[in-house]
């Protein structure tokens, strides 16, 4: 298939990309980022190994449709929590984006975090930026083979480990690792392990900033949450320009120069390969590497730090900065309300769910002259981790009583049971259809486990 030549303005999108080798920088924000990488990866790789009450603390057990998160067990019936959790996550992202820009991108996005880890491995095996650029250009000799080979070996091993860990959130990880070592994994485990491992390897090893530029939806819509008071990384043009080289110790203003010595370190440090001095660009993931790079230069030159710094558009223009804007307050308020709501409802959660279904075939039955009977099927789901015996009682109509097959209904942990409930009411106490009453299910051993279901009782109309 041939295609017409691309028009000139599109050509930029198609030029072969040169591999970006970000320069290693040291500084406050780099330390912060390293800390974030260690903490976040530590949580990801460590969490599946944590035990709680004799089982894996965090386990999404898909085959039996239960999610265990520390002491809590979630069922498909608890879908609401999952939905709320997603909404809370999205709102948190909005909130922090409005306040502090792309904090997420710079410190917490898995793409950034894993890329950082892969760059560390690259650095251990291939050396620093200059060495890596040289290695790229050098012909395939022994050194290149050894360095490249060990890098890829490290990467693949790390990616496989990542895949195992990922699957370990869905299958008990201790058994999983045992089976992985003896190459005895099920087809789905193998598939997801390789899938996740491959994605990590490809995204963090090869695609890197291109994921942010071409594949990330957040990168495209984050600007909608920005305003003039949002924290961004910016270059102080007034202070920096005109840029230019100069010997140390020279007073720049005397030479008609700004504070930027045009060393290009900020560009070399940038993982997305942009020049922050050209202004805010959507490729910028706000990683602050350029700040650290520039600050180190300013220190050497004995200039004040902060030629590149966290700032806001308003601040850069000398206007007043308002942190608490309506949008921040609205996001913050919604967030607080939702989180409180979820926490409260989590503490109120009863580990018991009961469904009551009326018998559709028979509207009512006349047991004898004095008594009318309705039959219901009661489905009991014991969400607790121990078995319970429950009793069923009824209230709400004069003389109402219920008959079940046995006095107590025992349901095992995480199991369901069905029970037929015959509800009887004296004939002179009810009339017509739809008389409301309540069925109360209560655990014998723990009376605080109790549910109330509303149901309707049908009787002949006189």
């Amino acid at each position: 298939m041939t295609r017409p030549e691309m028009p000139a303005e599109d050509a930029g999108m198609y030029v072969a990309r040169e591999k970006i080798h970000p320069r290693e920088v040291k500084g406050r924000f780099q330390n912060l980022r390293n800390l974030a990488v260690i903490v976040l990866l530590g949580i990801f790789y460590g969490l599946p190994w944590v035990q709680w009450d004799g089982r894996q603390a965090v386990l999404f057990d898909l085959p039996v449709r239960q999610f265990h998160i520390f002491g809590l067990t979630f069922w498909p019936q608890d879908f609401l929590y999952l939905a709320l959790l997603l909404i809370i996550a999205a709102l948190t992202l909005f909130f922090f984006t409005a306040l502090a820009g792309r904090l997420w991108c710079g410190y917490a996005c898995p793409q950034t975090v894993w890329t950082e880890a892969f760059i560390w491995m690259e650095r251990w095996t291939e050396g620093n930026r200059q060495k890596r650029i040289k290695l790229d250009k050098s012909p395939w000799n022994r050194e290149k083979v050894v360095r490249r080979g060990s890098k890829h070996l490290l990467w693949v091993l790390f990616a496989l480990f990542t895949g195992v860990t990922f699957v370990g959130y869905f299958t008990p990880i201790t058994e999983l690792v045992g089976r992985a070592v003896s190459l005895d994994l099920g087809p789905w485990e193998t598939f997801w392990l390789l899938f996740y491992g491959f994605a990590t390897w490809g995204n963090a090893g090869f695609l890197r900033e291109q994921v942010c530029i071409y594949m990330c939806p957040y990168a495209r819509f984050q600007s909608a949450m920005f305003d003039r008071n949002t924290l961004i990384i910016s270059y102080d043009e007034k202070r920096g320009e005109p840029r230019g080289g100069r010997p140390r110790g020279v007073e720049p203003r005397k030479r008609g120069l700004g504070d930027c010595i045009d060393c290009n370190l900020c560009v070399q440090a940038c993982p997305t390969g942009i020049d922050i001095r050209e202004g805010l660009q959507y490729e910028c993931i706000a990683c602050a590497a350029c700040i650290d790079a520039c600050d180190s230069v300013m220190d050497k030159m004995n200039y004040p730090r902060g030629l590149i710094r966290y700032s806001t558009e308003n601040a850069m223009e000398g206007k007043k900065v308002r942190t608490l804007r309506p949008r921040v307050l609205v996001y913050g308020f919604l967030l607080l309300a939702l989180i409180t709501g979820v926490l409260v409802s989590l503490t109120q959660r009863t580990p018991l769910a009961v469904e009551v279904l009326a018998d559709r075939n028979v509207i009512y039955r006349e047991v004898d002259w004095e008594t009318i009977e309705n039959v219901y099927t009661v489905r009991i789901l014991n969400k607790d981790r121990v078995s319970h015996a429950y009793t069923l009682t009824v209230e709400g109509l004069p003389g109402i009583e219920v008959i079940t097959r046995s006095e107590q209904i025992r349901v095992g942990p995480g199991s369901t049971a069905s029970e037929v409930a015959r509800v009887r009411v004296p004939r002179d106490a009810v009339e017509g259809v739809g008389n409301p009453f309540r069925l109360i299910m209560q655990s014998v051993d723990d009376p605080s486990i109790r549910t109330v279901n509303n149901a309707r009782f049908n009787a002949p109309s006189e």
């Binding site: 085959p63 291109q210 594949m215």
Partner: protein, 83 residues
Amino acid sequence: MTKKRLLRSVGGTLWPSFLTAAFASVVFFANIDPETLHMQTLPDWRISRMTGYAIGFFMFWGVGLASSIITFVLTDGGPREST
């Protein structure tokens, strides 16, 4: 196809459909047990829950992918707006 275009086509088709499929599967299977579907449609076949999830996920992914590919072809290959 240049490397960049290849990348854009993958980034613009496989990836968004994967994201939406993952999301759709979570919502769908949180509310519907594949076992129930299985019993009501092909009870004679042996389909485990895990297989059920996988079928659902790949079905969602496939549908999303088809849509993304069509979008990509329509927006990328067609006549360009003059400048």
